[in-house]
Point group: C2
Chain length 716, copies 2
């Protein structure tokens, strides 16, 4: 069901309406009247005849006309019965303001479940509970009570009412843009982030979406919607609850399950979402992305009228991985022709006083720079807008002329200009003009840099879009019959773990290279097999009762010759029986010793918020000591597999470090893709651990030495 | 010489004074008059009789009264002759505005040298050149031309005029504090950062110092002055030129040598300087540190009226290493008594609507929290100051009452409160009151968190002050006669490197453990020695002509028995002669093979800005692959040595990682301290490389297997 009736309602019932001006049930009606809500307003209160000159109804079902949305401002306990009444009336959705639900402990949790149950049986969708409300400023629907929110084309989803206030203030004083919707998600008991996203994706009144997220209820669906949305409009996200203290704080006020999981950041970026870390940067980022063309080549020029700002901006952008390339010789020549002798023209460009009496020069410089085909965007930093204030009043006309010119340039060259100005706070006309042309102006250099950085990220993302994956898991699509049987067989036996030979067989069905090995029932079988392969072997117990084989004395390595193998075989059997008297022993795995070489680890698990994820890292100290690992939400594409390998710090070791071996990266990529395929094929797999995987020289592949797979009924 | 006559001048000559209102030589005089400069103003221009009603003089030496300071606004070329004239008059200092010096290339460099030369011979100190000017707002001395700079007690040293403008704007609109001095350092051709610091340290009009630094000319003296200054007043520093692009940008506009060196950040912190990375945070940081007591125990409470802000603040502070401890049971109980049922009282404290009708509760909560002995400071975040605006006008009196109470609490409990308010931009009276009590108020949550973070850092620093070192090198103090001889002997021979046995002998004089070894002239000597120690040995060529011994085939390892040793000995001699026909061979070093174990590296070099520095890291891939090293400016204290070891990522390996060995950290500490002592003792040492150093099990010490020392005449 679309959320259209809920977010664009033609009528609203205020349940818990009041005549008392200090009550929300009064303020809500007053705000709707003052803001000129275009639809109908129905106060509901059994004790009143009329409120603010509107007829009042005893209950929702008593309203004679259709009702799209109910704002419920009553205490928590009576809400289920109100929802029953709403259901009778065919109300599409209810905004529940009350707190005291999941976020407040066990009793609240029960009550929340009751409310969700009532909503379901009445076919009423819930916003909240514990929400600050919603606004649709395009029709004057303001159920939050924050006044003077600027109207515009940015939709705002938030789990904090204070953040809403903050962004509204910021938009009002530092921008000429505003909001189409504000939606306070509250506890997300029913409607979740991804459903709002889906609605906003095609909403013609919304150009960009900004969100403050404390916890996601269904991270994978969120990623799927975001992935589709960012192709048509930008999303900027501030995620809190990164640290343990932050997570605790989240838990205590929105009842969200979790904070930032290890994979969230990468996953968001892969879905094209711009992630910011400071609330200061939230509104500027979405403003910039919604109204300016992105930077297509990650290359930016800085135009400054003072070295300090140029240097700081260059530092910030460079640290963010953005190139500040030297301008072409021709571009430099053109700049030299119009700037003073001591100007810097390489990039950053410093006009060195050249604009003090001629601020129109900024437009000339901007034009020369944007025409340079190697430059994808321009950051203007310093005093622009303040020349009339700082130097001579008459310069304002030149500044205004320059603003007009630069404004049009953005359109003409399809390259963004972002402006930092020390004089933004004084709101000179030239800066208002820049904003009119959608060039944002910030008084903070860091904010301006962040915006440019985000334009670069988004441009890069849109270019590489085809390489990404859609976060959809095609369960069973590539399953192999024998693989299904291995898993079903184990589940039937009540096992949570595949036996090592089963796990290895399963992955080999998906082209993962495992050693040629057998399960021997007798020492003789083991000896015979060892002879046949002509290598030292390892023996490992095969028993559903022994998960930690080494701890049980169930592993012997580096065995050679009849005697050694027989002795080891018998010892293992004995150890196993000592470990567990009636252990179900299926035999002993005889597997060739793989030559020592670089070890890597590949693992998967089910993340609370995002479902199946994959981890890669170099074995031993790299994983354990310095946590040098990379994560992705599954499934992954070839390019994501490549990135996973290259983004770990120790990746250089694979490339022939210090004249050492070059290792077979392609084989690792194939392995990661196979693992991705396996997890998609068998939703019963909850955890996989390939450790160690030996990587050989380039062209010689990998060997999975040990494989552990945990399974459970799929619950697809 | 004190800078007092220069920074507190009783008279100023304006050289290059003008009647043309668009010229600096006019504006400077006008500004001095308008700002009510308390001293005398002497325009200097041979073509005018009077300017702005002040008598004009043909040259400085023609002024009848004494002149303390000259502001020179003429073009660059005539400046040396002006300085000669200033010298005649006994002028103490000259502010040189003109650009076109070192920053602009070879010709400018020559001109700058000429200016410095002229200044020296005339005993005139130079501020600049290429400076935006100076201000001493305590006496109305404004030689910059920025109007309406707020007066106060913060001194500002900057290498960027635009940054000055930015800070002045920020102070004006977001604070009630202001500046005592502004000093534009320009090219620092003469007076450098550390001299201004020295002056400001004892200046009674200055409570705190803030600086924007692009490059230091004498980093060690700077550290020494800063170290002494931060004990009495705080210093906040923004350092730019961190990245390659940033460094280039610096070079092109202030002619500074270098950007941020690897050690700068740690060195600044050891000197007690608060380093910030965003210009947005520069003024708030110094404001906070100058007027509030620091946090003594790194433990902070957050008081919020909304979960979102509390969570974000908790994340930021936790990531910065600050503790947000759970409040004591008693404190929680007291809070529960006054807050609504669904409030969070653990920390962060969320009043959960409890203040909506009673904002005075903030003061009650603050008092309860600050009385908790485990809490060192309070961060107040959210809407405070805006209750009268958002809820009901009448609440303003409660807010004002709360402000008075909180203001006095800071004094009483000697614990800081920092306030974030969404309503700061509206300047409600309650927030003005907080500022009156020196509680800063910011509209940016990130800025408020940064300030709290800096209060924690400064508190910690002041507590640990006795552990720090003063950055003073006591050259030769602990030199040993034999060590001096080794170095002098090598220098006499024209060598830049000590021979390995010399280097090892030298360090052993300072208690660095090196293997017992000899230099053998014949195979027989080598064999005899090897027998006597009963271990496998390594042979290494000893020749001043062969620095890279391995490349020349001059090293053989793992030798045992007569035949092997003799063969290796002869081969090395032969290889050496092949490498260089007439190589000066002093013999062959015979040294026992040290058992393999954990390898570390200790190195020293001379940093451009700070002089001798020391580096520590784990050997092999850790240093080379992931650059896991720590640096300190020398000399180091015991605690600094300890920190150096603990701050590398791979430090866990030393502590018995995964049930492995515990290594002898104390021996590493002793080694680092010995190296520190050696570098102090012999200023001729320009570089030292102990690599590898084998670390043994706890209690068993270290072995320096190879030592390289580069020397040169000291130039002390």
């Amino acid at each position: 069901m679309s959320l259209d009736r809920i977010l664009n309602p033609q009528s609203v019932a205020i349940v818990g309406a009041s005549k008392n001006p200090t009550k929300r049930g009064y303020q809500a009606i007053k705000t709707l009247l003052e803001e000129g809500y275009e639809g109908k307003i129905y106060p509901v209160n059994p004790k009143e005849k009329s409120i603010l000159n509107l007829p009042c109804y005893p209950k929702v079902s008593a309203i004679p006309e259709p009702v799209d949305l109910a704002l419920i401002v009553t205490p928590a306990k009576v809400i289920p019965s109100i929802l029953d009444d709403c259901g009778k009336k065919g109300v599409a959705g209810a905004v529940i303001i009350a707190a005291g639900f999941k976020e407040s402990g066990e009793e609240g949790k029960r009550l929340e479940a009751e409310v969700v149950e009532a909503a379901k049986r009445n076919n009423v969708r819930i916003i909240g509970p514990n929400t600050s409300g919603i606004m649709n400023l395009t029709i004057g629907l303001n159920l939050v009570g924050i006044k003077n929110a600027p109207k515009g084309e940015i939709a705002f989803l938030s789990q904090s009412g204070n953040l809403a206030l903050e962004l509204i203030v910021e938009a009002s004083i530092k921008s000429n843009k505003g909001f189409s919707y504000y939606i306070g998600l509250g506890n997300q008991a029913d409607i979740k982030f991804h459903e709002y996203l889906k609605y906003l994706k095609t909403d013609p009144k919304t150009k960009g979406i900004v969100m403050y997220v404390e916890g996601l209820k269904d991270g994978r669906k969120f990623l799927q919607e975001a992935y589709k949305t960012t192709l048509v409009k930008p999303i900027v996200l501030l995620k809190s609850g990164r640290t343990e203290t932050g997570k605790k704080s989240v838990g205590s006020h929105t009842g969200s399950l979790a904070g930032m999981s290890e994979v969230a950041f990468t996953a968001f970026r892969r879905a094209g979402i711009v992630v910011v870390e400071d609330s200061d940067k939230l509104f500027p980022s979405i403003e910039t992305l919604s109204y300016l063309p992105p930077v297509k080549n990650n290359k930016v020029a800085i135009l400054a009228d003072g070295g300090g700002h140029a240097t700081i901006a260059a530092d910030i952008l460079t640290e963010a991985g953005i190139e500040i390339p030297e301008l072409s010789e021709r571009t430099q020549q053109l700049l030299r022709e119009i700037l003073p002798k001591n100007a810097s023209v390489r990039n950053p460009v410093d006009v060195a006083g050249g604009t003090d009496e001629r601020p129109e020069l900024f437009a000339d410089c901007a034009k020369i720079i944007l025409k340079d085909p190697n430059i994808g965007g321009l950051l203007l930093v310093g005093l622009f807008g303040g020349y009339a204030i700082r130097f001579a009043e008459i310069l304002r006309f030149q500044e205004e002329d320059a603003a007009h010119q630069m404004g049009k340039m953005v359109k003409k060259y399809k390259k963004p200009i972002v402006c930092h100005s020390l004089y933004a706070f004084m709101k000179p006309h030239s800066l208002e003009l820049l904003r009119y042309y959608n060039i944002p102006v910030y008084d903070s250099l860091e904010v301006a840099c962040e915006c440019m950085k985000n334009l670069c990220f988004y441009g890069k993302y849109l270019k590489s879009y085809h390489r990404e994956v859609s976060f959809v898991l095609n369960y069973r699509k590539k399953a192999v019959l024998e693989g299904e049987e291995i898993i079903q067989n184990a589940l039937k036996e009540g096992r949570k773990w595949l036996l090592e030979p089963e796990a290895k067989r399963l992955i080999s069905l998906h082209r993962v290279p495992v050693p040629k090995e057998i399960v021997a029932k007798t020492p003789e079988e083991a000896i015979k097999f060892a002879k046949s392969i002509g290598k030292k072997v390892a023996l490992k117990i095969v028993s559903p009762d022994i998960i930690h084989k080494s701890d049980a004395g169930g592993v012997k390595l580096n065995l050679e010759g009849e005697d050694e193998i027989r002795k080891a075989f018998n010892e293992i059997i004995e150890n196993a029986k000592n470990y567990k008297k009636d252990a179900d022993i299926r035999g002993i795995l005889v597997t060739p010793m793989v030559e020592k070489d670089l070890e890597v680890i590949v693992g998967t698990k089910i993340d609370d918020q995002f479902g199946p994820i994959i981890m890669f890292g170099l074995g031993g100290i790299f994983v354990e000591l310095i946590k040098d690992v990379s994560f992705r939400v599954l499934p992954i594409s070839r390019s994501a597999a490549k990135e996973m390998i290259n983004e770990i710090k120790s990746a250089k070791l694979l490339n022939g470090f210090r004249g050492g071996k070059k290792y077979d990266k392609n084989a690792i990529i194939r392995l990661l893709l196979s693992v991705s395929e396996i997890i998609e094929a068998y939703p019963e797999i909850k955890e996989m651990d390939l450790n160690p995987v030996i990587v050989h020289e380039n062209g010689k592949g990998v060997d999975v030495v040990d494989a552990r797979i945990r399974i459970d009924y799929s619950g697809e």
